[in-house]
């Protein structure tokens, strides 16, 4: 399928082009956005009606070759990523657009290839069916992401980038080790073939094989959790995301953790569903809950806008891990497991759109004020009403109030929690929502306070439109949730439909 090829190769080719061709980065990026949007608009209706589409690269079937599969999960994330990238690339033109008269700065030269490279790696991570190929995608992603953090070359952002790199390498190492163990045991890393082996099914496996499988899964999970910034591996996230320039922060916070999360979903729901135990499900859920509370409390204590938004990502990622106890569990949960699974994906999508919108808002305000300290935000509501509304609307999605995509997510997850009798997760969802309202209220109220003496630098209107559109997309995800819901259902792994066990 040409469209699948386009999804993966267009950003990568564009990244190469942007390196080669001077001062045309923004136009090359624009072209690749158009190409990817066309590819997605071909693929989405096709997959929604006919089911997942496979691309067997070079005609080599697994285990020899690598398969890319466009299923509902992959396309939903690729679609969200395309929206975010489009908005970010448009916003970045002001910051990194080349001017014909002056010499090109590092940012102007490096931003476009890095962002496009990251995008290509993301799409590979969403589409690929091979655990080693996924490792390569993750590494590409990490390299591009770390470079984006360091792009301004400021002292503190270099330190943040280094810390990010350390964590990410550790994560990669763990993942790779796990993948190697799995390969040694089963001779393949293709998700479909692994699934066919019913790994963990007690009848076939000997004791030592089972132990090595569990170790492999544990290592891979730990590695992916580090890259997703799950509590307690979140320490790298806030300085990196807050230290990067706003358009880069938007990509880093909205998209990058989602890639490793999608791989986690594929690992546990598609490749190794037989290995799960109630204790494992509860542990992952518990870490998610801890992330929700700890991230929120940290966000409440920050006095810089970008740090608040970054710690909010730590908290919001926590919700994603509730998928394990909610979509797993005993048989009573089964009719609701599908709802929980889809709800978590809605949460990831809604968070991506809203979080990118928020970082772009922060970018606008940094231009207007000069820094992102909360105390400097007085009077911004009157000075930049459009950005204010974007921030407010994105906040509605993050707090999961209706009618946003976040609300759809929360409703589905809450229903699953009550129906399966696991009210503890419902408590996490509700308190987490209230905490997020609390930490987002602080910048909101500050911007709403009147300050007649405040003067702000003018911000171009074009820079203010992108976050508003992203925030509205997060609302539309809730208002028009039917189409994305049924798209996500296509090719949904059997494990999610029946519960993990």
């Amino acid at each position: 399928m040409l469209a699948i090829v386009a999804l993966v190769t267009l950003p990568l080719v564009a990244a190469l082009m942007a390196v080669v061709v001077e001062r045309r980065g923004e136009w090359i990026a624009l072209l690749s956005v158009i190409g990817v949007v066309i590819a997605l608009s071909v693929l989405m209706p096709l997959v929604a009606t006919d089911g997942p589409v496979d691309l067997v690269i070079g005609g080599w079937q697994a285990p020899l070759g690598i398969t890319l599969r466009a299923d509902g999960l992959a396309l939903a994330f690729a679609g969200m990523a395309a929206l975010v990238m489009a908005a970010v690339l448009v916003s970045a033109r002001t910051l990194y657009g080349a001017s014909p008269s002056e010499a090109e700065t590092r940012g102007q030269w490096a931003f476009w290839p890095l962002a496009l490279l990251l995008w290509g790696a993301l799409n590979v991570a969403f589409l690929s069916r091979d655990l080693f190929n996924l490792y390569v995608a993750l590494e590409l992603l990490t390299v591009a992401a770390v470079a984006l953090v360091a792009i301004e070359g400021k002292r503190e952002s270099l330190a943040a980038a280094l810390r990010y790199l350390m964590f990410a390498l550790m994560g990669s190492l763990a993942y790779l080790l796990g993948a190697a163990l799995l390969y040694a045991g089963h001779g393949t890393l293709d998700i479909g073939l692994l699934a066919a082996r019913d790994i963990g099914d007690a009848s076939g496996a000997t004791g030592s094989r089972r132990a090595s499988d569990i170790m492999a899964a544990g290592l891979m999970t730990a590695g992916l959790a580090v890259k997703t910034a799950l509590f307690p591996f979140h320490a790298w996230l806030a300085p990196a995301h807050a230290g990067a320039p706003a358009p880069a922060s938007a990509i880093l916070s909205a998209l990058v953790p989602k890639a490793s999360f999608v791989i986690l979903l594929r690992l546990w729901f598609e490749a190794l569903p037989g290995l799960t135990t109630p204790a494992l499900l509860a542990t992952l859920g518990g870490l998610g809950a801890a992330a929700v509370f700890y991230g929120s409390v940290l966000a409440l204590r920050q006095n810089r806008l970008k740090l608040i938004i970054a710690y909010s990502t730590v908290a919001q990622i926590g919700y994603l891990f509730l998928v394990f106890p909610l979509a797993g569990g005993d048989s009573y949960a089964q009719p609701w497991a599908a709802g929980a699974w889809t709800g978590v994906i809605f949460q990831a999508l809604s968070h991506g759109l809203a979080k990118a919108a928020m970082f772009l808002c922060a970018g606008v305000w940094i231009i207007a004020v000069g820094n992102d300290r909360l105390s400097g935000m007085r009077g911004l509501a009157s000075a930049t009403p459009m950005t204010m509304s974007a921030f407010g609307i994105a906040g509605v999605a993050l707090v999961a109030l209706p009618p946003s995509g976040g609300f759809t997510a929360k409703y589905l997850m809450l229903t699953a929690a009550f129906a399966s009798g696991q009210t503890i997760w419902a408590v996490v969802l509700l308190l987490g929502g209230l905490l997020s309202a609390a930490y987002l209220y602080r910048p909101l109220a500050m911007a709403f306070s009147r300050d007649d003496d405040a003067t702000f630098a003018p911000v171009p209107r074009s820079l203010q439109v992108a976050p508003l559109l992203l925030a509205l997309a997060a609302i539309l995800l809730g208002l028009g949730s039917q189409a994305p819901f049924s798209l996500i259902q296509t090719g949904r792994p059997a494990a999610a439909a029946e519960g993990l066990e």
Binding site: Y411, A419, F485
Partner: protein, 491 residues
């Protein structure tokens, strides 16, 4: 047409809201035309719908989201009662707000959220399922916050903070109640009886308590009423709207829906929930009145009076006897008319004569006769003297209390009436019988213009008398309330 009409009624406020946000501050005419046009159109559509529903047409619109999550707009007698009240008062409040705010700052933002707020209230009235109700209920919270903090000074920001810190947690409790209930019994539609089979008695009671806690913050039940007196930092039209049409009414309306259409009066009584609810309402009535007596700012006194008066509605429902229910339902409209009159007048006193405290009211009757007459009519209604709307409510509640064998309620009603008199009559005395002092006229020379400011107050004041005088006619709020209550007892 039957599926379209509820949507059209919503759109009459949603579309003006969407456009108004993008208008420049100086496109005053377009803004006024949009808002008034929407309000008039909405009222027209509702009158048309009243006629249709009288012929037995069912209006229903369904919008699917994710499985189990759908928006249902459905028109029944209870929604008609609320939606006609809100549409009528909205038109008047819009006229008043235009005159009151004139050329103030951020008008496009204000009127955008103002219209959004109507849309949310209309949605609440027309919702046919619990989850639809919840969606509009939260939308109401979100759209009123910018109105409360409209002045953007420290006081109004603090008021907004207080509002959210009550509204958001209670919204969360409401969501828990809904999801808990629906995960056991399936989606709840108001038009369908709910099968409570899968839930044990304790769960049913806990869910009911969660419902009341979730709705109680907006309905200003103690101890969740703290935000309401603080919210009077908002501009007068917003206070009028908060107290009479939108927020507290949405809470009271929600309690009605839960009691009448989800649990049903009989189940509520069987579960032993009627008595606690009526005691809570009675305590709120007394506490609100007692606190009102202590205030020396006009708007604050009115705010505590609202705390007290809205609980008449809930008391009526909780007593669960026919007359009490009718009284409670009718008071939804009656209180709205009377309280909006009082807030309109308080706004005029403030805006035109710089009168904010009660001791500044001395002798103002001579200077501002229209405002003073309207204020007095509203106050007399609140006390419950015949022939006002308040009198009708209190008579019905009293008879209902006897029917329900709850004679203690008569004592509550009596005490509350005395308290009402104790905090309103001194104000009337000052207005009409004392000589003007320097404090009265220290502001600019008092006047009552423009017409947009005083006309809405006059209309609502006379409406509040009319619904009392004409309570026996076929189209009075009381008649509609009787119709709703009859369905409860006949089913």
């Amino acid at each position: 047409m039957t599926a379209l009409l509820p949507v059209l009624i919503l759109l009459t406020s949603l579309i003006p809201a969407a456009i108004t946000f993008f208008l420049a501050q100086d496109s005053k005419r377009l803004r006024i035309a949009l808002n008034l046009g929407g309000a008039v159109l909405k009222l027209g559509l509702i009158v048309f719908m009243l006629a249709e529903v009288a012929q037995g047409t069912v209006h229903e619109t369904r919008l699917e989201f994710a499985p189990g999550l759908y928006l249902l707009l459905r028109v029944d007698a209870l929604s008609l009662l609320f939606v006609s009240l809100s549409a009528f008062l909205w038109l008047l409040t819009t006229v008043y707000a235009i005159a009151y705010l004139r050329d103030g700052p951020e008008l496009s933002r204000f009127f955008g959220f103002f219209s959004l707020c109507v849309a949310a209230t209309t949605g609440i009235a027309l919702s046919g399922t619990l989850i639809s109700f919840f969606i509009f209920f939260e939308l109401l919270t979100l759209s009123t916050w910018p109105l409360v903090v409209h002045k953007q000074n420290a006081k109004s920001i603090a008021a907004g903070r207080s509002y959210l810190s009550y509204a958001l947690p209670s919204g969360a409790m409401l969501l828990v109640a809904i999801v808990w209930l629906e995960s056991a019994v399936g989606p709840v539609e108001f038009a369908r009886p709910v099968d409570f089979g899968p839930l044990d008695r304790t769960s049913q009671q806990v869910i009911f308590a969660l419902f009341i806690a979730g709705l109680g913050a907006k309905a200003a039940l103690i101890p969740l009423h703290g935000w309401l007196p603080a919210a009077m930092a908002a501009p007068a039209p917003v206070s009028a709207l908060l107290h009479a049409v939108a927020v507290v009414k949405a809470g009271a309306f929600g309690v009605m829906r839960v009691v009448l259409d989800v649990y049903g009066l009989e189940r509520m009584t069987d579960l032993g929930l009627a008595l606690p609810l009526s005691v809570l309402a009675a305590l709120t009535i007394l506490w609100g009145s007692a606190r009102a007596l202590q205030q020396d700012e006009i708007k604050k006194r009115l705010a505590f009076s609202t705390v007290s008066q809205v609980s008449y509605i809930i008391l009526g429902i909780a007593l669960a006897s026919p007359f009490a229910v009718i009284g409670g339902l009718a008071h939804l409209v009656h209180q709205g008319l009377m309280k909006i009159t009082l807030f309109f007048c308080a706004g005029i006193f403030d805006e035109r004569a710089d009168i904010r405290r009660i001791d500044q009211l001395d002798g103002i009757g001579a200077h501002m006769p229209w405002t003073s007459v309207c204020f007095s009519l509203g106050a007399i209604g609140m006390i419950g003297l015949p022939p006002t709307a308040g009198f009708v409510t209190k008579i019905y509640l009293g008879i209902g209390a006897v029917q329900a064998d709850a004679l203690w309620v008569l004592a509550v009603l009596g005490a509350s009436t005395l308290l009402n008199a104790a905090y309103f009559l001194p104000m009337l005395y000052r207005i009409w019988f004392l000589q003007p002092t320097a404090a009265t006229t220290e502001g600019a020379k008092p006047n009552e213009r423009p017409l947009g400011l005083i006309a809405p107050a006059v209309i609502t004041a006379f409406a509040s008398i009319a619904v009392g005088l004409l309570a026996a006619s076929a189209f009075s709020p009381l008649a509609l309330a009787t119709q709703i209550a009859e369905r409860q007892y006949l089913r």
